[in-house]
Symmetry: C2
Subunit: 334 residues, 2 copies
């Protein structure tokens, strides 16, 4: 209540403008998503509904819609591309949760724990193919190229992450390559395909692709930081999941590098994944003590600023809403 | 050696014409496949090579090539589509083997047993996305539509199969729907996309799609029959795998329907999957005794004939080679 207090970050307020501006389009995207996840094979819509309808902020399709509108689109192709983007995202979530053995997703039990891993693999495949059918319907080969390429980069990034899992000497550049591929590439293609749908000139397509990439990096860095901070309720997954899975993220790597005297602790908990109940608290203390979480959030803020800088050639309420979305990505970590 | 002996089926001879005619194109398709499965993430080409380079007759891409050549194609788009078809097939094999828990594929240990299920899921995703990149490069939205649709139907068929696994009362129509989706659809789209690549008139595209669909049904029916007949060496997988996995295929369904007095045996071995070493021999005896394998092969032969009938509007060596390929599909079961 002090007059000189630092400004309190308010993530919800930063999300408000883009939510308001995209609301009408996003209602149509939601209807399209619901329509295209249907199948006579009952388990498909049931599993898809569990994941897609239940939660998630639909950030990626919202970026597609906002990018298309920021370019003044005169057609509806961005709606199908936005739905395709969400299907790609949903498919990768289903497969990731199997790969990671995660138990909680968007605040609910992960689908593979309810329907089994086999169903999650196949329904993921189904959603993925549906995304391509949606893209084909737009008739835009450029958008198809962007999203097909993104899907390929995502899969490659996931494999890279898997092969370097539990590597406590993972170079920071490889970590950035991994999150660039598995997260930022889809945000980049989501924004790029929106601009393509609007038949925007090449420099605007490139600018929005840059925006999406930096936004995605900021989001992932904050996510990785929050895993050592947030409560499960705020995160929609278990805090400490990354640590317990032995996943090497930037905050962890920074703490490991800053605490050579703790080498055996890190080798035991991350490399060999021999953990006790108390280990997460100790890890969290080491991350706090070394400023690893704060440094990760600094890096995220730099990407949020780079995302905003990419919007220089735009103006009006859409530019402002996209800027606030970049603020939102890091405000969650404040 | 008798002069009046019935003609001896010779599968290899039936495959010869299409192998010879497509050899030059298939060498280029193979080079393309090898090129496009590369990645700096080492496990990707290693796993892909294990599956793709090691075995398999490349029947599906061969169908794409033959269809395009039968339509007198004047460009090279069919090569990329053929590689895309093989990648879709490879991706589904990787995911299927996880879903089914299969231990042998193309005569070698299944990839998930060597690299783990997680890698198989993700490399399958990677190959799948690479297939879409190849399609996009052809610039043919029609071919993209055909293969995207096929991929979606395949995934749906796999889920349907999974949800009806071990159902000893599975109606024959649902079995046919399942193999129509999971196998025949890719053969159909392989042939169709070849014709599309050749810019063939709609009636030829439809005819080749029909050809592919019937060919695929014939292949799958023979495969399902061989699972109760062939040695592992000939099959490239373990004979009896379907039975041991409790997979309900046409030969099994026919035997179950014809032996109501064996209800408890079928419920125990297929529904509950409580099997002993001797059960496969007993099942095989029941299938022999009821003529279930022979009836399945009859159905396969009917589809091979339907495939040939679809080629009426074609002539020359390509028609003849495609007809012999249809003969090959059933000669394996003789």
């Amino acid at each position: 209540m002090s007059a000189v207090a630092a400004p309190i970050a308010n993530p919800a307020a930063d999300l408000e403008p883009v939510l308001a501006l995209t609301a009408k389009d996003m209602a149509r995207v939601d209807a399209l998503i619901l329509d295209r996840m249907q199948s006579e094979v009952e388990i498909i819509p049931a599993l898809a509904r569990h994941l897609i309808s239940a939660g998630g902020k639909r950030l990626r399709p919202m970026v597609t819609v906002a990018a298309a509108r920021a370019c003044g689109t005169g057609n509806d192709n961005h709606l199908k591309l936005a739905a395709a983007v969400e299907f790609i995202h949903a498919a990768t979530l289903l497969h990731d949760d199997i790969v990671d053995g995660s138990s909680l997703r968007r605040g609910k039990p992960a689908a593979h724990l309810i329907w089994g891993a086999a169903s999650s693999v196949l329904v993921g495949d189904f959603l993925f193919t549906r995304s391509f059918e949606l893209m084909v319907e737009t008739g835009s080969l450029k958008a198809l190229r962007s999203l097909a390429r993104a899907s390929s980069v995502i899969a490659e990034g996931e494999v890279l992450q898997l092969t370097r899992a539990h590597d406590i000497e993972l170079p920071r550049e490889v970590y950035l390559e991994i999150i660039g591929a598995k997260t930022a590439e889809l945000f980049a293609a989501a924004a790029e395909s929106g601009a393509i749908a609007a038949v925007a000139p090449p420099e605007r397509v490139r600018a929005l692709r840059d925006y999406g990439r930096h936004l995605g990096l900021a989001f992932q860095l904050v996510d990785d930081a929050l895993d050592y901070e947030a409560e499960a309720a705020a995160l929609g997954k278990n805090a400490g999941d990354d640590f317990r899975e032995g996943k090497v993220t930037l905050p962890l790597l920074l703490a490991i590098a800053a605490t050579p005297e703790e080498g055996e602790f890190w080798r035991r908990t991350i490399q060999r994944r021999e953990q006790t109940e108390e280990d997460f608290a100790r890890a969290k203390a080491l991350l706090d003590q070394t400023g690893a979480v704060a440094a990760t959030l600094d890096e995220a803020r730099a990407h949020a600023e780079a995302a905003k800088a990419a919007l220089l050639g735009f103006d009006g309420p859409w530019r402002s809403a996209l800027e606030r979305l970049a603020d939102f990505s890091v405000a969650r970590g404040s």
